[in-house]
Amino acid sequence: MRYLIKRLAFLAFTLWLAVTLNFLIPRLMPGNPAQIMVQKLVGEGPVNPQLVRAVGIMLGLPRGTLWHQYVLYMHNLLHGNFGVSYTYFPYPVMSVVAQALPWTLILLGTTTIITFILGTSLGALAASRRGTWFDTTATITANFTATFPFFWTALMALYILGFVLHWFPQSGGYNAAMMPQWSSAFVISAVYHSILPALVIVLTGTGGWLFGMRNNMIHVLGEDYVRLATAKGLPRREIALAYGARNAILPNLTGFAMSLGTLVGGSILVETVFSYPGMGYLLFNAVGNSDYPLMQTIFLFITIGTLVANFIADILYGVLDPRTRRGGVSA
């Protein structure tokens, strides 16, 4: 319990710190977005300072003292008000993000979980059958798929499965002729569009988990307690699961929780290659268009996601590894 409270307090503190830095850093950067916007409009010629001010007001550029701005910023933050997107003007940032987030969460969330489960189980299996044909095949295949650059695999898949064979659509998250809604036709279209990116993510991502798990597990299987478990006459399956995998998975869990945290920001590579309407695609566009409010919000989401994931990893570790817990009978 004490552990939980301590972790929670730490989470709250880091969240506040991240939010504050997110407020300060853009203000320390040189440049005036209104100036840039006007400059873009008028080309090479002189800039009318009044026009700059007018555009600034339209975009909602901050005024007043830094402290005043900070209070206002925190107030807006707590009410989910992140300002107006420059790119998708006049839509507020929040609604732009709200549209992109589910796509990313569903595609990347599902594939991250599948990748982790698949990689970890295959790794555990390879380690407990070390040196057999299964182990050799699994490690060689994983080596092969994991070392190909993602974009190359993605482009090859797009070209062969999409362009040549026409098995899957080449871009987008759903049929562009449909409107996003909760109809079966739309859901089927969305799932159909997500198969190709999901396949490529799983194909390239599984190798890493497999290697991590296999190496941990081989190390754990060499431990004395595993040898003792064999001497105890426990069945092979139980030794591999309750003694081997149970201990070997611990270091991998941290990595898994971290990858869940960063997926809030989407995967720029995946989403740009497949023109998928998620957070990564959004971020890519925001950067390209100097859309500061949108960028700032996405960064904030990534930070919060990472911190929360870290928190969950800590709690999970506390539950699964008694050594990280304090106290006990001896205390």
């Binding site: 060499g222 431990e223 004395d224 307690y225 040898r227 003792l228 478990a229 064999t230 001497a231 105890k232 006459g233 426990l234 069945p235 092979r236 139980e238 309750a242 003694y243 149970r246 201990n247 611990l250 699964l320 590894d321 008694p322 050594r323 304090r326 106290g327 006990g328 009978v329 001896s330 205390a331």
Partner: protein, 621 residues
């Protein structure tokens, strides 16, 4: 002997590495029987194959080890031939094991109770209800003197000694007929080791299971075992009842091992050490594997064949060309002392009154899990120049903490440590760097202290570079001199070797050489021999003693072992729970100890001549 529970017949085990294309036959045909209810000790140095043999019995070999030949008969069946499933039922139900370093033998993520339960479940004792299991776990834990409330604890919440006791209780859960124990008390405090073995012996007698106790320490084994089997270089060289072996050891190796022990309380303490190194299984000489270290070796021994293990008229087995001649009682006591003799009598204690280091009123407290742990409580002592002080105590006595404070690695909470007019805890980084030229340290584990990737030459050059500012030819000359001084001759054979290629004794000599490279005034040696094989311990002690006589440094020797303290030290300081309980001249403290703790330490030293545990008298803890 009673009908054997298990009989190991001519077992050969080879470790093969496919990748490196090597094969090392570490057990070269061992035969051994354990009778029902018998307590058998199997003794050998590193490389003797004792642990490999123990693992081969239940087919627990790892690292590419395979049984090439032989039988392990149990209940009329050959355990080496059983199917995996039939073997699984024999494991633990009939033959249980306690592994070397039980520190790590318990699953870290499961409670103690769970580890008992899974073995009960695996052997389908499903008729046992949950309450019955819990009651049984509590009973077994009480049997090994662990509070039953620890059943719900996790392994990391127990101390090393407690884990060892839990491992023993776990071995007994199904009521096995044989328990194989591989170095069950190595790494534990002497007092705790003594208590555990004493309790084990009582339990074994009470419940009637047989024990095969594997140890590197003949002294410990002789104290508890009914019969002792001595292994050397993958073969058994002597197998006889403990009492007969103690009174009349027949194999020169057994005799030499026994000579490594002595009564520290005698007026004249004398131990011998066996020359050379423990067997290198990759390069065994032809003939009897022991001949290069044997004082009695003849031509016959050197050319082979290997002397077979032969049954003697008076009972027992021995493998030596000379042993058949009969008993040696009344023979010249120096015969068979294969190495140099190390004698210390009362007289050669020297006294000096010029302190080189003065520790005054030192306190140190650590925090562990928010609980203060007092490591040192008002400790004051002086190290007189040019003498040897032994700092003696069990684990947790604070002796290593004191070493860290004296070498400036940590600072005390309170108190002063003076060297040459300077107060060490107040020195800054530069001051400490200069101070370390005067005070050097030798650690327990030589392999942990040396970088395995470096050569011996490079390792020893470092201190000259750090402190010496010597030209490279001059420095290399010094390195060779040092190597010769610590007995690594010819020096050129060692300069280019990686430290990972050395044996334990050689590595510790390199560590000593490294410490002496800067010509320190004070050498702090923290348990420098406790990780080494018994046969070469005296050699390192002798080396420290000789070097001190030659170079005149002051030695602070930290140990739990009063025998080595008696041999080496002029002054003995006994530390218990962070306080000095006794100090004085080595001979005085050890011959007439005043404090109860010193007496307990003395009683706990393995001393084969005493045989307290196997005999009827029992030592109260």
């Amino acid at each position: 002997m009673q009908r054997p529970v298990v009989s190991i017949e001519d077992v050969v085990v080879t470790y093969r590495s496919k990748r490196r294309r090597t094969a090392l036959t570490s057990v070269q045909g061992m035969s051994l029987e354990v009778g029902a209810g018998e307590f058998v000790g199997l003794v050998g140095e590193s490389g003797s194959g004792k642990s490999t043999l123990a693992n081969a019995v239940l087919r627990l070999l790892t690292g590419g080890g395979e049984v090439d030949r032989g039988r392990v008969s149990f209940n009329g069946e050959d355990l080496l031939m059983l199917s995996e499933e039939s073997l699984r039922t024999v494991r633990w139900r009939d033959i249980a094991v306690v592994l070397q370093s039980s520190m790590n033998a318990l699953n870290p993520v499961a409670t103690i109770r769970t580890q008992f339960r899974d073995v009960i479940r695996a052997h389908r004792r499903s008729s046992w209800s949950e309450q019955q299991v819990d009651a049984d776990v509590s009973r077994l834990l009480s049997l090994v003197k662990i509070d039953p409330k620890y059943a719900s604890a996790y392994p990391h919440e127990l101390s090393g000694g407690m884990k060892q006791r839990v491992a023993i209780a776990l071995a007994l859960v199904l009521g096995p007929r044989l328990v194989i124990m591989d170095e069950p008390t190595t790494g534990l405090d002497v007092i705790i080791e003594h208590e555990i073995l004493s309790d084990l012996r009582d339990l074994q007698r009470e419940r009637g299971f047989a024990v095969l106790l594997i140890s590197h320490d003949l002294g410990t084994v002789l104290e508890v075992a009914d019969r002792v089997v001595v292994a050397y270089a993958g073969r058994i060289v002597e197998d006889r009842p403990a009492k007969a072996l103690l009174n009349n050891p027949l194999h020169p190796y057994t005799r030499a091992l026994l000579d490594c022990y002595a009564d520290p309380g005698a007026d004249q303490v004398r131990i011998t050490y066996i020359p050379g190194q423990p067997p290198n299984m990759a390069a065994l000489p032809p003939g009897c594997p022991f001949w290069p270290r044997c004082a009695e070796a003849e031509e016959k021994c050197q050319q082979g064949p290997v002397p077979p293990l032969t049954r003697l008229d008076g009972g027992g087995l021995v493998a030596c060309h000379h042993a058949g001649a009969g008993t040696r009682e009344g023979a010249d006591p120096n015969l068979g002392r294969s190495g140099a003799v190390y004698v210390k009598s009362r007289a050669n204690a020297s006294a000096s009154h010029h302190p080189v280091i003065t520790v005054t009123g030192v306190y140190k407290t650590y925090r562990r899990n928010r609980l203060p742990l007092v490591a040192l409580n008002d400790v004051s002592l002086t190290l007189p120049r040019g003498t040897v002080t032994a700092l003696v105590g069990g684990s947790g006595s604070g002796k290593s903490t004191l070493a860290r404070l004296i070498t400036g690695m940590e600072r005390p909470d309170r108190g002063t440590i003076r060297f040459d007019g300077r107060d060490i805890p107040r020195l800054g980084r530069r001051g400490l760097h200069a101070y370390r030229q005067h005070v050097q340290m030798v650690f327990q584990d030589p392999f942990a202290a040396l970088n395995p990737m470096n050569t011996v030459g490079y390792t020893l050059l470092r201190p000259f570079v750090n402190y010496g500012r010597l030209s490279s030819t001059e420095a290399f000359k010094r390195v060779r001199q040092l190597l010769e001084q610590v007995g690594l001759t010819p020096a050129d054979a060692f300069v280019g070797k990686r430290t990972s290629e050395l044996s334990g004794g050689q590595a510790q000599r390199v560590v000593v050489a490294k410490a002496l490279a800067v010509n320190p005034d004070v050498l702090v040696a923290d348990e420098p021999i406790s990780m080494l094989d018994v046969s070469i311990r005296a050699g390192i002690l002798r080396l420290l003693d000789d070097l001190r006589a030659q170079r005149g440094f002051t030695l602070l020797y930290i140990t739990h072992d009063l025998l080595s303290a008696r041999l080496l030290a002029d002054q003995v300081i006994v530390l218990h729970r962070g306080e000095i309980v006794e100090q004085g001249l080595a001979a005085d403290v050890i011959q007439s100890p005043q404090h109860e703790y010193t007496r307990l330490l003395l009683r706990s030293i393995p001393n084969p001549r005493r045989r307290t545990l196997a005999a009827e008298s029992k030592v109260s803890p």
